[in-house]
């Protein structure tokens, strides 16, 4: 692929640039761009890199707080966790590449987010991933699931970063457009955080890592274009990951950061060399000049255009202190990597690239961001919304046998055990994992301190489809709740906003509603947004995915030894339900699985109440009163109780009595929010009850842990072993289909 000539408004259109954007480019340059410059603008102004449709909305998100050391705008967010340490984290999407080539797409997604984190000086210690696939019986689903899961494991395991949790859900809404969101958290001394702002005119610009090939040319624009039949044409742009080189790059970069050679460093992600140069120069208010002939190349005869826009993986761009080039090279050679000086920092505020002696790019850096297009796209509430939200319990037939319903739910792909997935991930390497995959949140110890970190990622896209605002509020609250039931105080979050085509008013409405929901929930819970990513155009042949604002949240435990998991621990413990059960079924898994309906308003939620509820449980956890805790989510109270038995180290059962204040199916399987199951020694019951009363939070002792059966009223009576039988291998069974 060479530079398209002649460079005209038509060529711009082929690059996905509008006539107005073309005009802007000509004004900024005071001339028509070269083919290379057109490529640069089309990449930098793509939705993926410029956030042109989302920016106006994202501005409303709370991004600051006493513990926030770095909010949005850098490669990843940073929060203070005490003891002179900071947690660096971010979530990012790799949806389109993963649909085209599941293994490599997912693998390179993990590689990209790892670089975003270690480029800030942090040692990555944990990965999460959040996945959405089409209906489990869709012919393509098993192949995609196997590819994505083995790709995530293949990369993360090899690099030596533990994958400690995540999410996976199946919904026909993703049949033609899966979601693969990857999250990484790293640790750094708070006085050793690196940022990506160029400084020091004359300082050398150095290139490190893999050579540049013709990989993923225009990946950035691909991620910003809808799929259609000829997506196959886009296939050659799929990159292949090289986790071994990433591991070397990780170790070499961290070693370099211990030295005093480094000024700034930035990974080469979307739009490769171009975006890393422009972003670094832009953040420093300076210019960068590079010589493309000095860029290490994997193939003969690469054009300037290709070198500028290649998305070859495992590469970093860095700025060193003048005179320290040799020391930088020595460190990378130790790790069998090459480092090449390809240019220098300049004071002219220009991004300039020379190739075969000619200047092929000469762009003023500042306008590329300050004059980047910003769209306030039209917004319109979907016509069918009210109709979708209508649901009267009267026309939901009451099932004859709730025991049978429970078993059907436990076997359903969205509620059954995820073991088949996380068994393929190394969740142990480097020894931080106190609570691994399989509980509400993963808990990591912070070595050398008494502290711990809890991580989770959450989003119920069914709620978001029925009401994107409430759905997003619930996503944030559930993430926080998952941390709280692990004993951790929620600190901050990173969001990955996966939506359809922003040029469609209904999609833009969903986006605006979701961002508003995230904002309100973040303000109420005091959890700022410190990083994130937007993925638009998740749409195939006009059909867009359900709105999916993924929320990855991080919490802190002062005493990691006090952390909690969801499994029952001690026979004789009291089981108490904190929170209130309402008569609601909207958007529930039960309604979908048993009645085949996705409708109704999502569960009611009150942010003030949620905050108080979380505070209560957090206090009890900190006192060491609780033996286990689990939030009530998809599948309702009955499924939550079953999960407590199934996660119990000794597979303990329980005997539960519920006062029948409403229909049995609603009571057992409704998904009312702000509910948490806790267990504790009988003697602590009065203390907990009084505290709850003071906070005006309903709490009932609903039963006792013990035995080998789960009994709930006269509705349910099953041995835990039988439930395990149903629940454990359901996913593997469902996927055991020839791809």
């Amino acid at each position: 692929m060479g530079a398209p000539a002649p460079v005209t408004v038509e060529a711009a259109a082929e690059h996905g640039l509008t006539a107005d954007e073309w005009q802007k480019i000509c004004t900024i340059l005071g001339r028509t761009p070269t083919g290379e410059e057109l490529g640069v603008f089309s990449a930098m102004w793509s939705e993926h890199c410029s956030y042109k449709s989302s920016r106006v909305h994202l501005k409303s998100l709370p991004t600051t707080g006493p513990h926030v050391l770095q909010g949005p705008g850098e490669n990843a967010g940073v929060v203070d966790i005490g003891d002179g340490l900071a947690a660096v984290f971010k979530i990012e999407s790799h949806n389109h590449p993963s649909f085209i080539e599941p293994y490599q797409g997912a693998a390179t997604g993990v590689g990209g987010i790892l670089r975003d984190v270690f480029t800030m000086g942090a040692r990555p210690i944990a990965n999460l991933n959040s996945l959405r696939f089409g209906a489990i019986d869709h012919p393509r689903t098993p192949h995609l699931v196997r590819g994505v899961v083995s790709g995530i494991g293949g990369y993360g395991n090899s690099v030596g970063v533990a994958t400690v949790g995540g999410e996976i859900y199946f919904d026909a809404g993703y049949d033609e457009n899966i979601l693969v969101n990857a999250f990484t958290l790293g640790l750094v001394r708070r006085d050793r955080i690196f940022r990506a702002a160029a400084s020091g005119v004359g300082n050398p610009v150095m290139y490190v890592g893999s050579r540049t090939g013709r990989d993923g040319i225009h990946g950035a624009s691909m991620a910003s274009a809808e799929f259609d039949e000829d997506s196959d044409e886009k296939r050659p742009t799929v990159q292949v990951g090289d986790p071994f080189t990433e591991k070397l790059l990780l170790e070499a970069c961290l070693e370099l950061m211990e030295s005093d050679c480094l000024v700034a460093i930035q990974d080469m992600g979307a739009a490769g060399l171009t975006s890393s140069s422009v972003e670094m120069a832009g953040r420093g208010g300076l210019g960068i000049e590079i010589d493309l002939d000095r860029v290490p190349q994997r193939e003969e005869g690469m054009s300037a255009y290709e070198i500028l826009l290649s998305e070859s993986q495992e590469r970093m761009l860095l700025i060193a202190n003048a005179g320290r080039e040799k020391d930088v090279k020595r460190i990378f050679e130790k790790w069998d990597l090459q480092a090449a000086v390809i240019g220098h920092v300049s004071d002219d505020g220009l991004f300039r690239a020379r190739w075969h002696g000619n200047e092929v790019v000469r762009i003023p850096v500042e306008p590329v961001s300050t004059q980047a297009p910003v769209y306030r796209r039209p917004i319109e509430e979907p016509k069918n919304l009210n109709e979708m939200q209508e649901l009267s319990l009267a026309d939901v037939s009451e099932p004859p046998d709730c025991d049978d319903v429970l078993r059907r739910l436990l076997a359903s792909p969205n509620l059954c055990s995820r073991r088949w997935v996380y068994r393929q991930y190394d969740s142990l390497v480097r020894g931080h994992t106190v609570v691994g995959p399989g509980s509400d949140a993963a808990v990591l110890r912070v070595k050398g301190t008494r502290r711990g970190l809890a991580l989770t990622v959450d989003c119920n896209s069914r709620y978001c489809l029925l009401d994107p605002y409430v759905g997003a509020v619930i996503a944030v609250c559930e993430a926080a709740r998952n941390l709280v039931v692990s004993g951790a105080r929620p600190l901050a979050l990173s969001d990955c906003l996966n939506f359809g085509n922003p040029e469609k008013p209904e999609v833009m409405w969903q986006f605006q509603q979701a961002v508003a929901g995230i904002r309100d929930a973040c303000v109420a819970l005091g959890t700022p947004v410190v990083s994130g990513n937007v993925s638009f155009y998740n749409e195939t042949q006009g059909r867009s995915i359900p709105p999916t604002p993924m929320i990855a949240m991080v919490g802190l435990l002062d005493e990691v030894s006090r952390c909690l998991a969801q499994g029952f621990r001690r026979a004789g413990d009291i089981v108490a339900l904190v929170g209130r059960t309402r008569e609601e079924l909207g958007g529930s898994e039960y309604l979908a699985v048993v009645h085949g309906r996705v409708r109704g308003a999502p569960p009611w939620i009150d942010l003030g109440f949620e905050k108080r509820l979380q505070g209560l449980v957090l206090e009890a956890a900190a006192d060491g009163v609780l033996h286990s805790a689990h939030d009530v989510a998809e599948g309702g109270l009955a499924v939550a109780l079953a999960e407590c038995c199934l996660a119990s180290p000794d597979r303990l059962g329980a005997r539960i009595e519920l006062e029948q204040s409403m229909r049995a199916d609603v009571l057992l399987f409704g998904e009312s929010q702000s509910r948490i199951l806790v267990t504790f020694d009988r003697q602590n019951w009065p203390r907990l009850r009084d505290r709850a009363q003071r906070e005006e939070i309903p709490v009932q002792a609903i039963g006792e842990v013990g035995g080998t059966r789960l009994e709930i009223g006269d509705w349910i009576d099953r041995s835990v072993a039988e439930l395990a039988e149903i629940w454990e291998d359901a996913l593997e069974r469902a996927l055991r289909v020839v791809a």
């Binding site: 083995s150 293949g154 068994r423 142990l428 480097r430 020894g431 106190v434 110890r445």
Partner: protein
């Protein structure tokens, strides 16, 4: 005593081994860089887990050519003690310091989970603090841990008590279901005939701390410490081994 933990490009569990030996067991533990032939006078060498050289061709196939491995070969020939875990086991097999080879898991997928191991020979330098047929709980995490050797080799290994660990269920039975990767004879770890080189797929260094993964792994390290600190230079040969 002094331990050395090898570090190859792509080693991942080297830090865990150093942590287990240094922080938990209070040993003098140093990292040994692959380009460095000097073993720094250690009493025992750990070849750690990970993906040395990416494990791109065959697991462990490339690491054996590094300068440090030449020294380890000599060290072993002189009776020095060498332990390989996971990728380290694969490397020792590829290097010919242990018999057999590790191939793709029967499931063809990577597997990370806790497994039960049965001590098959407690009369070795690596297991002397275990009871015969004691059951240990230790995690595995590998994609290619299926132990394979030809029948003759297997016969010898069994006859001489060189099989130190087998995958079993919680009751101690070596059932097919309890064999996570399809290893022949449910073999999880083997020792060389001389009794000074040992490799296993499970990760004892990930089972030394009650806060993360339990303590059963400590028994292995403590066994060798005990063996060496009593100054017993020649490892006691397996009971099943006829020779003196």
């Amino acid at each position: 005593m002094k331990w050395g933990v090898l570090v190859f490009p792509g080693s991942n569990d080297d830090q865990d081994a150093l942590w287990a030996l240094g922080e938990i067991l209070g040993q003098d533990a140093v990292a040994l860089w692959h380009k460095d032939a000097d073993l720094k006078g250690v009493d025992a060498v750990v070849v750690p887990g990970g993906f040395s050289y990416g494990d791109y061709l065959r697991c462990g196939a490339m690491a054996r050519f590094s300068p440090v491995m030449e020294s380890v070969g000599r060290f072993a020939a002189e009776g020095g003690f060498v332990l390989g875990f996971c990728n380290g086991f694969q490397i020792l097999c590829e290097a010919g310091l242990l018999p057999g080879v590790l191939v793709r898991n029967r499931s063809l997928t990577f597997i990370c989970q806790r497994v039960h191991l049965r001590v098959e020979n407690a009369a070795t330098a690596f297991t002397r603090l275990c009871r015969e047929r004691e059951i240990l709980e230790i995690p595995i995490k590998h994609g290619e841990g299926c132990y394979f050797a030809d029948d003759e080799t297997l016969g010898e290994l069994e006859a001489r008590g060189q099989v130190l660990f087998r995958y079993v269920d919680s009751q101690g039975e070596a059932t097919p279901q309890a064999n996570p990767n399809g290893s022949l004879g449910s073999i999880a770890g083997v020792m060389n005939a001389r009794g000074n080189v040992f490799g296993m797929m499970p990760h004892p260094e990930h089972a030394v701390d009650p806060a993360v993964g339990g303590c059963d792994g400590q028994k292995l390290f403590r066994s060798l410490i005990d063996h060496l600190e009593r100054g017993v230079r020649q490892p006691r040969l397996a009971a099943a081994d006829g020779r003196p």
